[in-house]
Symmetry: C2
Subunit: 429 residues, 2 copies
Amino acid sequence: MQLFKRRQSSLGPNTATHVYQGGIPLHIVRGQGCHLYCSDGTEYLDCVNNVAHVGHCHPEVAQAVSQQLITLNTNVRYLHSSVVDFAEALVSTLPQQLQVCYYVNSGSECNDLALRIARLARPGATHVAVMAGAYHGHVSSLIDLSPFKFNGQGGGGQPAYVHVLPCPDTYRGLNLDGKAAARAAIEGAHAAGGKLCAFFCESILSCGGQVVLPKGYLQDVYREMRAEGALCVADEVQCGYGRAGSNFWVFETQDVAPDILTTGKPIGNGFPMSVLVTSRELAKSFSNGMEYFNTFGGCTAAGAAGLATFQVLRRERLQENAAAVGAHLLHRLSMLQKEHACLGDVRGMGLMQGIEIVTDPTSKRPDSKLAAELREQMAVRHHVLVAIEGPHNNIVKIKPPLCFSHKDADRLVDALSDVLASGKANGGC
Amino acid sequence: MQLFKRRQSSLGPNTATHVYQGGIPLHIVRGQGCHLYCSDGTEYLDCVNNVAHVGHCHPEVAQAVSQQLITLNTNVRYLHSSVVDFAEALVSTLPQQLQVCYYVNSGSECNDLALRIARLARPGATHVAVMAGAYHGHVSSLIDLSPFKFNGQGGGGQPAYVHVLPCPDTYRGLNLDGKAAARAAIEGAHAAGGKLCAFFCESILSCGGQVVLPKGYLQDVYREMRAEGALCVADEVQCGYGRAGSNFWVFETQDVAPDILTTGKPIGNGFPMSVLVTSRELAKSFSNGMEYFNTFGGCTAAGAAGLATFQVLRRERLQENAAAVGAHLLHRLSMLQKEHACLGDVRGMGLMQGIEIVTDPTSKRPDSKLAAELREQMAVRHHVLVAIEGPHNNIVKIKPPLCFSHKDADRLVDALSDVLASGKANGGC
């Protein structure tokens, strides 16, 4: 409690917190694999951290970064193998045309850089298309591109140069036509006297509610966008890097290849870093005389963190684990769904899943209150940490470190089942 | 060479590089204190790295971060002591009204956040005043606020909402009147139908050319800005944190206190992190319902890096060292200046100094060619690394890690002296 008071005094009042019963955030002191440990020794199952991609405090990644920090950690103006090795490893996972990397510090810096590249590549075209509910970052330029932020509490509303495609909703059968959505955004730009330079889209909509895009959706949108001259930016800061299980990058599941790929959270397993990858042609148009320098972006320790994380991911076959455990989890959740009418939709790919909580299966009305209650009870009674997301705050979000096991998945579903059963006994769903 | 080719193939073509003779960046493999070591074993004296603040690879900082990485490294949504301890340490160095911290990942994210805070605090006021030659960051919003970028190669020119105060030049006796400069910026905003929300200023102008502001300058500017309702942002990403020697923060030397302080490069000794500090009142107006979350900003490892760097800085009395060695360096450079007419001006505070290279002391014409030659010869012949900066690329920049010794300072001046003497023998200055 003392620490919380000190924190409230020294950190900004709107700093994000995970608060549970008692109104105090968990005081976590140790992490290992998919587990977090409180100061009182209590163990929690972490089902939401997509930054500790290969597991909290993976010893091999920690060791690689530590070794680099004591040997050399300087900027990219000098030549060093770690950043080149990791850039090559990243490129090796991508379609042939994505081959030039820019190191930055965060998903926000990465998406902002994508915007800069798009605007230089398409002179005169300044408008941007995004998906409803999207979150692309916290810097000024990206709050403008994030309906999650500009339509949310404290937001300033939709900028005139931003055009929003409605969120496809397979559960309700709404907005499934990518071509129509793209055309509307393009025509919206024209009507406002502008032209799109880029279309930003997470390959699975995260803050939008763990939405898996309908088959063919991105192909249809990309086709229209490219016909208009707009670049297609795949934001895989949250969903990419093996999480989907079936594929290393989620855009592959849509049979498309973006012009710019932005990455972030998982690639350094918690070391602050991010990489943008684009084509040689776009890198060339971006290289217009203005040097690109980022103090920390591409520091030698970032290269070491990236490379070690990538090697662990491969050697421990964590993408394959995401596929196997993800399938098991989805199956068990689907079974549970049959018993509880409030579990409106269960969806996802690999270890990125969402459960849509509704008041009843007929109206499909979002039930944010119940979702919040489930999150709270799962944490308090079962020490299982999930999060709530989506424009109606009714999606239970699951995106654990990729070392999540079958046993962990069972524990998660058992906890949810128990909480739902107790609720039912008390007149719930 | 092979590594350089691989890098050219995998990283963006406009990625910044320090290139010397032979056209290949130095391949640095090890760093210690103020020294960098090449793959062939050659040792270099690093006189420009202001990120490795307490010395390259300081073992105590590396150890603290390593320990944190293997124990826990997660986000600020949970409670953890490291980020609170460091925030308190930072606040303890500051004027009483600066007491609320926001963790971000870089100086760029920090200045962008300052802009967001200013715009929310001053609704309707969207214009911004900055100094000529200023660099405040590489994200879209800050390229707009950086004459160094928007007036530089590949830049898009000055945005209509940005107003530029001319750079005070004590060497030439130009633009010394802060009040007049501030009034012109304020009136420029009015003439454009706008109003200033903020004035951004580095407390020593870095990219502007290592310019120490005239006594009373910021007091005069701040008074006018505040009368207009604009917030004063002190960007100490490069100059702050003990580097000035006489003071921990450079704004103190101007007898002012900013409304927002932005920090960056030095505070984690190379760990990617940055902190913004502001008043409780401004933090409150920023807390308008929109949550502030930054994936890596305030991660537990950042707290550990910040705290360890701060403790080393204090215990090794590096601010005091910056004062003592800085004074010695300035004295020796002033002596050298008497022998060489091309050393037009020698200036700085502590371990942040600049040498203005001119064609002759009468015309004071900037000599960028000679400056570049000095940099090259110092590196190639003496293995002493300096950089060139300023709007005319004629300022030799010196800002080494704060453990720079008297002996290091002597080596730097001796190298410069030798290079100048050789030049003189060949008809130089």
